[in-house]
Each structure stands twice: as structure tokens, then as C-alpha cells.
């Protein structure tokens, strides 16, 4: 068949398909019952045009229609709200338990160096300056001075919302960086976990040395349940991603990376969820000086139990 005849015979079908595509691309949801059949017909025209070596322009025109059709046919529709809820309640804890090795590795990398430096600084208080510079030490010290009306970063009494925003911007950003660094063969995640563990341990120990524990520990116990757990989960996700490059198993490194990242990013989103809760608790609960330390320790302990219960029991029997 000559090209001109071919064009004349099927032109109306192509135009109809293009009209359909335009509607779909504008999300005007027309009747799409016939879409798949119609799309396959266009694929067929393209195959014919190629086999008969019709002009490049005709081939290009059909090709672009196929490409646009492909984008519509394989569009992954999602029910965002339902999926998020299901993810938080069931999938995330189940997925984390499935990756328990990475979680405990990250936990060890975060807490053990922290514990070592804590004990070391108890033994020789000057060792704090190996981790923090003197300026940082005084700055952080002033945050937990028992004479303050509010704990944490220096602020007025009506700025809880400001701090909420600050914690989200700062802490979730740190978690994202802890995760992303993992792609460099786990190095970035290991660095952030070790660094944050050391910093936290050193600072906690120094606070005990200067005698501010009555303000510091009640402050951190509440949101720590969410924040510290979330940081280790983000680290675990990053390590999982980098580890797939180090030990890809039967897959090519690229395929191993893609597969592990699919899981790792879900762990990270779970961690981000915990961090948002942490920011809320830190800004509105931990900072209050009206509550006695006993109440804070009790509620803080309950938060830890809550997180542990959620991560160990949530989504039991849910197949990930």
C-alpha cells in the first residue's frame, strides 16, 4: 500500500486517538473503555509504517502518539489517603521488622559510640572538647540552664509553633541526609549515625558534669522516643541502600540498588512520620516548664513503650 492511501484510510482513527489522548492528559476522564484497544491499533499502524518504511515524518507522528498513549495506559493511579493510612498502620512496622538486621546495626552504630563517649567524658570532663568546640558547648549549655522558663533553643513563651516548624525543617532534613548518604556504599549513613551518636553522647555527659540533668533529661525523654528511633531507621534505610551496592548477590549492582531502594525509601517515609510526631512533642510538650520531671519521665517512658509496641506489634501478619 502506498503511503498516501494508508494515510487517507486511517487518518480519522489517528485523529480520534489524539482527541482521546488530549482529554486524558487534561484529566477530563472521558470513556476510556476502548482506550487499550485503540492504543494497540495505533501500535499496529506504527509497526506497519515501520515495516513498509513509510516516510520518517509519518513514523514520527505515529511514534509520538504511541509514546503518549503508553504514558496514559501505564499511568499508576494511587489512592493517596487510603494508601498512606495503610502504610503507617500496617506496612511500615512489618517492613521494618523484615529489615531488623539493618535496624539493629544502625541502632548499635548510633548508641554504642554515644555510650562510650558518655563514660569517657564522665571519667575526664575535658574530653568533651574533642567532639564539640568551646563555643558550641556554651551555646548548648545555655539552652538547658535550669533558670530558664523554657527549655531547648532560646525563645519566647509564645513560639511553640515556630519551634515546631524549626524542628520539622531541621530534623527531618537531617534524617533525609542520613538516608541519602547511604548511596555512597553506606559511608554517608555510617558517618551521620556515628557523628550524631558521638555528639549526643558527649553533650549528655557534659550536661551531667555541669549538673543540668534535672532540665535536660526530662526535656529529651519525651520526643527522644520518636526522634532517636527515627534517626536510626533513616540510617538503617541508607545502609540497606548502600549495602546492596557492596553485596548485590545474584543481581547486577544497578538492579540490586533499585530493588533495595524501593524498600529503603518506604522505611525513610516511616521515619519522617515519626519525626513529625517528634517535632510536635518537642515543641509543645517537652519544652513546657510547668510540668514536673516526674510527669515528664512517666509520659516519656510511655512514649518509648508506645513506639516499641508499634514497631514490634504493628502490622502483624501483614504480608509486605
Amino acid at each position: 500500500m502506498k503511503q498516501e492511501t494508508f494515510e487517507n484510510r486511517y487518518q480519522h482513527d489517528w485523529q480520534a486517538f489524539e482527541a482521546l489522548l488530549e482529554q486524558l492528559e487534561k484529566r477530563q476522564s472521558p470513556s476510556v473503555v476502548q482506550f487499550a484497544t485503540h492504543y494497540r491499533r495505533i501500535c499496529h499502524y506504527l509497526a506497519l509504517a515501520k515495516a513498509r518504511t513509510y516516510s520518517p515524518q509519518l513514523q514520527a507522528q505515529l511514534e509520538s502518539m504511541v509514546l503518549r498513549g503508553h504514558q496514559q495506559l501505564y499511568n499508576r493511579k494511587t489512592q493517596f489517603l487510603y494508601n498512606s493510612l495503610q502504610f503507617i498502620v500496617l506496612k511500615f512496622p512489618a517492613l521494618l521488622r523484615e529489615n531488623w538486621r539493618f535496624f539493629w546495626l544502625a541502632t548499635a552504630l548510633f548508641y554504642l559510640p554515644g555510650l562510650v563517649i558518655f563514660l569517657a567524658i564522665q571519667w575526664d570532663p575535658n574530653l568533651v572538647y574533642t567532639i564539640m568546640n568551646p563555643h558550641q558547648v556554651t551555646e548548648y549549655e545555655s539552652m538547658y540552664d535550669p533558670a530558664l522558663r523554657h527549655l531547648g533553643r532560646e525563645r519566647q513563651s509564645d513560639t511553640d509553633i515556630f519551634m515546631f516548624g524549626f524542628y520539622i525543617w531541621n530534623n527531618v532534613g537531617i534524617a533525609f541526609k542520613t538516608f541519602a548518604g547511604g548511596i555512597l556504599f553506606t559511608i554517608g549513613s555510617l558517618f551521620f549515625l556515628l557523628f550524631n551518636g558521638l555528639f549526643f553522647g558527649a553533650f549528655a555527659s557534659h550536661i551531667v558534669n555541669v549538673g543540668y540533668q534535672s532540665t535536660f533529661f526530662p526535656f529529651v525523654v519525651g520526643h527522644g522516643a520518636f526522634e532517636l528511633t527515627a534517626i536510626t531507621i533513616a540510617g538503617a534505610a541508607g545502609i540497606k541502600m548502600g549495602y546492596s551496592l557492596l553485596a548485590p548477590g545474584n543481581l547486577s549492582r544497578l538492579d540490586a540498588l533499585k530493588q533495595s531502594t524501593k524498600v529503603a525509601v518506604q522505611l525513610l517515609l516511616g521515619a519522617a512520620f515519626l519525626l513529625i510526631i517528634a517535632a510536635f512533642v518537642e515543641a509543645f510538650w517537652s519544652s513546657s516548664t510547668l510540668l514536673t520531671p516526674t510527669i515528664k519521665y512517666t509520659i516519656g517512658g510511655l512514649f518509648w513503650l508506645l513506639v516499641a509496641g508499634y514497631l514490634t506489634q504493628g502490622g502483624k501478619g501483614y504480608a509486605t
Binding site: 516516510s55 503508553h70 499508576r76 509564645d158 516548624g165 554517608g188
Partner: protein
């Protein structure tokens, strides 16, 4: 037909090979800069408005800054099928490396890993990574399985500028026929002098010169395509 080496071909379940043209570092950096300017302009405007609401406003501003820093591209990837304003200005689009539209989790991966691409500073690692593979994928693209490609422009039929058809003095093989068809389709985009220069290459066979030679070739193309 021979493809350009900057194209990659993806086979769909329908057995069709789709050609895609990955976008290189240069154009992507420009697109990124445009997006960055838009992003900072919005964040600046948000802070400007919210400063009238004191610390509460600043708090909300920080949350907005967080969202814009990390999720600005994710928003466009999910709701605009992978086209951010910066990409739109260069006709670019993010898709999965199997040609399907980008989804939420892939978008989150490729945009969060921007941090790793930024190392040691100014996206040096990302650019090196892009230049080391022929699909121009940065680390985030490799992990998420995504590509940045040029959007294929919608193609228009060139108008046939001449009536009638004729046969060529000697038999033509398929490649020669293709060459003549391509000449007729691209004729509109060439200057008159260039059209004639190309057509004159065939003067020894057609015995025509200048505009007459061009017209002859167009009529031959009509004949091959079956136009009357």
C-alpha cells in the same frame, strides 16, 4: 532506520520500540537553575507575607521551606507527569526507565538523593555520574530507575507544495527513495538556495537545474508516496 547514538530504545509490552532522547547535563543544569529561582522566589514571598504573623508565621514559613526544599519536584512529578516549570521551559520530562510515567515513591527517591549528588559540593558527583553513563542518569536516577528525556514534539504533516507526480529516470533503491522523501518533507525548513543546491546534485541524472530540479524531486517524492 539508523537511530542517532544519543537515542535509546525501549520496548513496550505491545512489541513497539519507543525511541527516547535522554537530556544531558547542560540543559538539565539550566532547568534546575530555573526551578531553583522559582523555588526561592516562592519561599521568599511566603516568608514576606508570614512575617506579619510573628513567630507563628515564621514557624509555618519554616514548614513551607522544608516542603519546598524537599518536595517541590515531587509535586510536579506526581501531578504534572514529571514536568517541573524548569523542565517545561526546555521541553524535558522525568519518566521511569521503562518509559512509564514517574510515580510518587520513585520521585521521592530521586529527589531525596539529590543530597548525595550534591557531594562534595555544587553537584559535582551528580554531574560526573551523569557523564559516565549514556543515559545521563545521576545517582538519584540510577536508584529510582528514572530518566530525564526530551518530550517528543507533536509532529505536523508538511504541506505538499507541488501538484502531480512523476517517475525517476532510473530505478531507485529503498534508501534512495527514503532520501528523496526526506528531502521533500524537510524542503520547507531549508532556504531556497540550499534546496536548489541539494537538488542540483542530481542534475546529471534528471537534466534539470535549480527550481526545476527541486520541483522534479518533489514530484518524484509524490510518486513514491502515492500522492496524485
Amino acid at each position: 532506520m539508523q537511530r542517532l547514538d544519543s537515542q535509546i530504545v525501549i520496548e513496550t509490552p505491545e512489541g513497539i520500540s519507543l525511541p527516547l532522547t535522554p537530556a544531558g547535563p547542560g540543559v538539565r543544569i539550566l532547568a534546575f537553575l530555573i526551578d531553583a529561582i522559582i523555588r526561592y522566589a516562592i519561599v521568599f514571598a511566603v516568608f514576606f507575607v508570614l512575617q506579619f504573623f510573628g513567630d507563628i508565621g515564621s514557624g509555618i514559613g519554616l514548614i513551607a521551606m522544608f516542603l519546598f526544599e524537599w518536595f517541590y519536584p515531587v509535586f510536579f512529578d506526581v501531578f504534572r507527569h514529571g514536568v517541573t516549570p524548569g523542565k517545561k521551559s526546555f521541553n524535558l520530562r522525568v519518566i521511569h526507565d521503562d518509559g512509564t510515567p514517574i510515580c510518587f515513591s520513585s520521585s521521592v527517591v530521586r529527589n531525596l538523593l539529590r543530597v548525595a549528588d550534591f557531594l562534595p559540593s555544587f553537584y559535582i558527583l551528580g554531574v560526573l555520574c551523569m557523564m559516565s553513563n549514556r543515559r545521563f542518569q545521576r545517582l538519584g536516577d540510577l536508584a529510582a530507575g528514572t530518566l530525564v528525556v526530551y518530550d517528543s514534539p507533536s509532529v505536523q504533516f508538511a504541506e505538499s507544495r507541488i501538484e502531480g507526480s512523476q517517475s525517476f529516470p532510473v530505478p531507485l533503491n529503498w534508501q534512495q527513495q527514503q532520501a528523496i522523501i526526506q528531502f521533500s518533507e524537510r524542503c520547507n525548513t531549508l532556504s531556497e538556495a540550499r534546496q536548489q543546491e541539494l537538488a542540483n546534485l542530481l542534475t546529471p541524472v534528471t537534466q534539470d537545474r535549480d527550481q526545476a530540479a527541486v520541483n522534479t524531486l518533489l514530484r518524484v517524492a509524490n510518486g513514491i508516496l502515492g500522492r496524485q
